[in-house]
């Protein structure tokens, strides 16, 4: 009886002791993310590459769904159960976390020097003194088109708006293809793929965006209403029942070859490559007249930061430095064509469609989405309202002027630009 008890005790303590040793040697870093689409890339490519170089540090990628991420992360941070590394949304969501003390200051992290100020702008305090996330990638807006459809109908890639609408008319007249695959059901398609896609050409990219923040321009100005007027014209080129067409519907319509043009974000490239059976090309948002400077939305979309409450801060910093390295950038940009590295070192990409998108960086001036910095801090939220109004304009519920007026009124109710 007594010996049995002793054996059990010894056995138990040895097991516990062993577990203790194992956990002391291996640090496990948990990554919070909304990119559940990237699970395979992290598991098969990124994490093994990092772990091979850094024995003793294990990384676990634990994504949640994009729509639930912010609420779930907030709850986890409040409860103290959030992971060591936190994938950062651009701008205010992350700034808020930094101000609350949930994200650590990474200004002095080695590797940060690999990024330009513009690349870091999404995760830097308003006064520019502290940076709290390592920029991972940006996405570029434009249009993806079905090359076979264009060849069959003898269309050439449009460069100006007139050519663009002429092409749409021709596709519509032919009737084989739906001219443009986009729906208004999910609202954000209309705003993100529509308004923010074609808008920079009207409001001259950064120039207009910064003027809006400074209060020198208003959403009711010509430059900001005209993109809505163009969106309103899109209505007749969308498929039947576009009011109830969801984002996945639009993706499927295009990849099944039923639609000719898809207003896109570059993040689609990976999925489209595996789904579409035809050749695809891409063109940037058409400009007013030939020779005009083109502007593209090259939106800083995703970064990664350190949970200030992390017990493994040193290991986490090692990981973040690796994320800031060209090695990570190369693996990431090639594994996820369409998510372009913000690293100053040029990254070689294999995918032709991704190369096409990134080539616009050379000829066009990049900007970010107009509603993201500063302007979506209050109630009503400008980004959400832009979703609703963009869909309203396409549905014909509101005229471009009324939509712009509503947005400006909402913004005026809480935003007082610094004079």
């Amino acid at each position: 009886m007594k010996t049995k008890f002793l054996t059990a005790l010894l056995l138990g303590s040895s097991v516990l002791g062993f577990a203790g040793v194992a956990s002391a040697a291996d640090v496990t870093l948990n990554v919070e993310s909304w990119r559940n689409d990237d699970l395979a890339i992290w598991k098969d490519k990124l994490i093994p590459a990092f772990e091979a170089k850094n024995p003793g540090i294990k990384v676990v990628f634990g994504p949640s769904s994009p729509t639930e991420y912010d609420a779930a992360l907030g709850a986890k941070l409040a409860a103290g159960s959030a992971g060591d590394l936190i994938t950062c949304r651009p701008f205010d969501k992350s700034l808020e976390l930094y101000k609350k003390g949930n994200l650590a200051d990474l200004t002095k992290l080695s590797g940060m020097e690999n990024f330009s100020d513009v690349a870091k702008s999404a995760w830097t305090t308003d006064d520019g003194s502290a940076t709290f996330c390592v920029p991972m990638a940006s996405v570029i807006h434009g249009f993806i088109y079905n090359k076979e459809a264009f060849e069959k109908l003898g269309l050439k890639v449009p460069e100006t708006r007139d050519e663009f609408f002429a092409a749409l008319d021709k596709i519509k007249a032919d009737g084989t293809y739906i001219p443009m695959a986009m729906g208004t059901k999910d609202l954000w398609e209309a705003a993100t793929m529509g308004y923010q896609n074609i808008g920079p050409n009207y409001w001259k990219g950064e120039e207009g965006r910064l003027a809006l923040i400074k209060g020198e321009q208003k959403l009711t100005d010509k430059d900001w209403v005209e993109p809505y007027a163009e969106l309103a014209k899109w209505k007749s080129y969308l498929g039947d029942g576009f009011e109830a067409q969801t984002y996945p519907d639009s993706q499927n319509l295009f990849t099944l070859g039923r639609a000719a043009i898809y207003p896109a974000g570059s993040w689609e490239i990976g999925l489209f490559n595996t789904q579409a059976q035809f050749k695809m090309g891409a063109f940037p948002p058409p400009v007013g007249k030939a020779g005009d400077t083109c502007y593209i939305s090259d939106h800083t979309d995703i970064g990664i930061g350190l949970n200030a409450a992390s017990k493994n801060a040193d290991a986490a910093k090692t990981f973040l430095t690796w994320v800031a390295s060209p090695e990570f950038a190369t693996i990431y940009a090639n594994a996820l064509p369409g998510f372009f590295s913000l690293n100053s070192t040029a990254v070689k990409m294999e995918d032709p469609l991704a190369q096409e998108f990134v080539s616009w960086r050379e000829k066009c001036k990049p900007t970010i989405r107009s509603t993201y910095q500063v302007l979506s801090r209050g109630t009503p939220n400008l980004e959400n309202e832009t979703w609703v109004e963009s869909a309203n304009v396409i549905n014909g519920t509101d005229t471009p002027e009324v939509a712009a007026e509503k947005l400006q009124k909402g913004l005026d109710s809480w935003y007082k630009p610094a004079k």
Partner: protein, 307 residues
């Protein structure tokens, strides 16, 4: 003698009640008071400060909040009306049909009609989104088979139809509950009452109106109040079918989705737990008033029959 007549303190009652009371207090009553408390505070420079009823003032007078609140309340009332007008009569009708002794396969019908009730909202929302989809949905083709194709519109994407369409989906899902409750009430009507009615020459429809309906009125009352509470707490179906912004143009925004956006935030909108709690408190009060109205004014006037 006197000592014997004095009963010992009934400890066993306390012991039996304790688990339910403790669990209910921990997961229902405490959070409820937490919500009420949260609605009286506001975060000022990251510190929770007591502001009295300021949040309620903002909700009712600030046009940015009051417009959305009124819109959500109005939509919620319409959501409830559709349920009362469509779900409950259909439930009563189905129950009356099922309790008819001539009908065969009652067990099958009963189960088939009840099954949607036990399905998850996510499945229901997704399935109906696909059925009604103008691109892949079966609805346009099915309507085409009976020559009604021209009546098809993308209902879920049209401002004027979306809320009604969603209400009807919810009716489809929950019609099993009134059916079951009323079915049970109908079965509990003693045969003697029916036979007596038949002897007096009351048969068919007039038997239903004059004998059965008065006897099942208390059950209909209970169903109405359950529907009321359920509808004003609804969220899931709208969220799964239309998303948190309850489009198009907020036309399907009900109190639940409005609360969700305020409390948890959405996309770039940062969540505001205090305003969220304020809306939650209003929902609680609306439901409380509705239930009290029923309990004190309606239920007491309902005649009950004892057999």
């Amino acid at each position: 003698m006197a000592a014997a007549s004095k009963r010992p303190f009934p400890w066993h009652i306390g012991v039996f009640l304790a688990p339910a009371v403790l669990v209910y207090t921990a997961i229902m009553i405490l959070p409820l008071f937490g919500t009420l408390q949260l609605s009286l505070f506001r975060s000022v420079e990251q510190v929770q400060t007591f502001v009295g009823f300021d949040n309620f003032r903002t909700l009712f007078t600030d046009p940015n909040w009051s417009f959305n609140f009124c819109n959500a309340l109005k939509n919620n009332v319409w959501f409830f009306i559709i349920h009362m007008v469509v779900q409950n009569p259909i439930g009563v009708m189905l129950a009356a049909l099922l309790s008819s002794p001539k009908l065969r396969f009652t067990a099958f019908y009963r189960t088939a009609i009840f099954i949607p009730t036990i399905l998850s909202f996510v499945i229901v929302g997704f399935a109906w989104k696909l059925i009604l989809s103008p691109i892949w949905g079966v609805a346009p083709n099915l309507m085409g088979l009976v020559g009604l194709k021209s009546f098809f519109t993308p209902w879920l994407g049209k401002e004027e139809y979306a809320l009604t369409a969603l209400s009807l989906i919810s009716v489809w899902q929950f019609v099993g509950i009134p059916m079951m409750l009323i079915y049970a009430a109908l079965l509990s009507i003693p045969d003697e009452v029916i036979e007596a009615a038949e002897c007096d020459g009351i048969t068919g429809w007039s038997q239903f109106w004059k004998i059965k309906l008065p006897l099942i009125l208390p059950a209909i009352g209970i169903i109405s109040i359950l529907t009321f509470v359920g509808n004003f707490n609804a969220f899931d179906l709208i969220y799964t079918a239309q998303g948190a912004l309850a489009g198009p143009n907020y036309s399907t925004d009900i109190l639940g989705t409005f609360l969700y956006r305020a409390f948890f935030g959405f996309q770039l909108q940062v969540g505001d737990p205090n305003m969220g709690a304020t809306i939650a408190t209003m929902m609680f009060l609306i439901i409380l008033v509705g239930v009290c109205f029923y309990l004190f004014l309606v239920q007491r006037r309902l005649r009950r029959y004892q057999f």
